[in-house]
Symmetry: C2
Subunit: 198 residues, 2 copies
């Protein structure tokens, strides 16, 4: 466990690394620059990240993953009305439109190694947290009678996560947000439809 | 334009390159091996692919992209009943489950350069063709009165494409097909729901 002061120093190092990566690109980042920016010496850097750059990149990836969820607040945490869902939908589209082809988390995951357990743990945790918040929102709307009884919150939340991931992947390759928007809209229409009869 | 014989030779070269890549991995592939396997000499290889390995990889990527659609036949071409849609859904899940984390097209696109215009043209064309076939299927079901009037076939087909892309991306990272399945099921449930009232 870190002391409060230790945690603050570690945060400062991770924030400095994230800023250096955004400004210079991941391949140009040097531990010296991160040390200068965070006002920490080499020995401090290695105290908090004994395994060096690799471990630091992973901490930055975790920070970027948290940012993905924070960028969706306050909407994601209070999906208790259709207006809130619509605002959340617009916030997601706007975030990824602004981000365009440059995904800070994607760059880090690629560098760490897409198929390494460490990278997969970071993305897996992000998707699980994201999905849980969507599931809570669907549950609340269901409890309020706004979503019909046959909708399974866990499955619908998983589908939403897949739809967003696919829409963002296409946006990053095509530059257009239409797939992301249509996918989100179809999921929300599905949730809003009033009957489950076929 | 190639003669019939020329086209057959070109196809043989591309097929040999695809097989070499699958067996040895893309970084180990040599033009000599491709020549030997396809029974073509260096001069013939350069006649059909004057720009060398890069151009050949692109041709292999186009072939793999066609394969993605062929793997979904005969279902994808005749989405004229809910049974056909269910069979198509199962074929997609089965294909990607079998494929697991190794996507032949993805490997090629990464090698060519994910953000190069040539690579983006291949994936863009694949998604557009795929989407068009889904759109035709939705249109036919609508004409037959099986899908309600408020469903927009183009938007629903785009949403399906995004859902599949996201589901497959998660499968490739997690090893599990549940996101792909839930995303496909939500889209199909959406199409099957009987009323558009909210």
């Amino acid at each position: 466990m870190l002391t409060a002061k230790g945690a603050a120093t570690r945060d400062r190092i991770v924030a400095a690394a994230a800023a250096e990566i955004r400004e210079r690109g991941i391949s140009a980042v040097k531990l010296d620059d991160i040390g200068r920016r965070s006002r920490t010496g080499k020995s401090q850097l290695f105290h908090y990240f004994p395994d060096g750059k690799e471990q630091l990149l992973l901490a930055v990836a975790e920070r970027e993953a948290e940012q993905v969820l924070e960028d969706q607040e306050p909407h994601l945490g209070q999906l208790t009305s259709w207006d809130a869902w619509a605002e959340w939908r617009d916030a997601v589209v706007e975030k990824y439109r602004r981000q365009g082809v440059h995904c800070p988390l994607g760059v880090l995951i690629t560098e760490i190694g897409r198929h390494t357990p460490a990278a997969q743990a970071v993305t897996g945790r992000l998707l699980a947290q994201w999905q849980r918040r969507l599931e809570s929102g669907i549950e609340e709307m269901k409890a309020a009678g706004e979503i019909r009884a046959d909708v399974d919150p866990a499955r619908a939340a998983a589908a939403l996560i897949a739809a967003i991931q696919g829409g963002v992947a296409i946006l990053m390759s095509s530059g257009s947000s239409t797939h992301l928007e249509y996918a989100l809209d179809l999921c929300l229409d599905y949730l809003q439809l009033s009957t489950g009869g076929r």
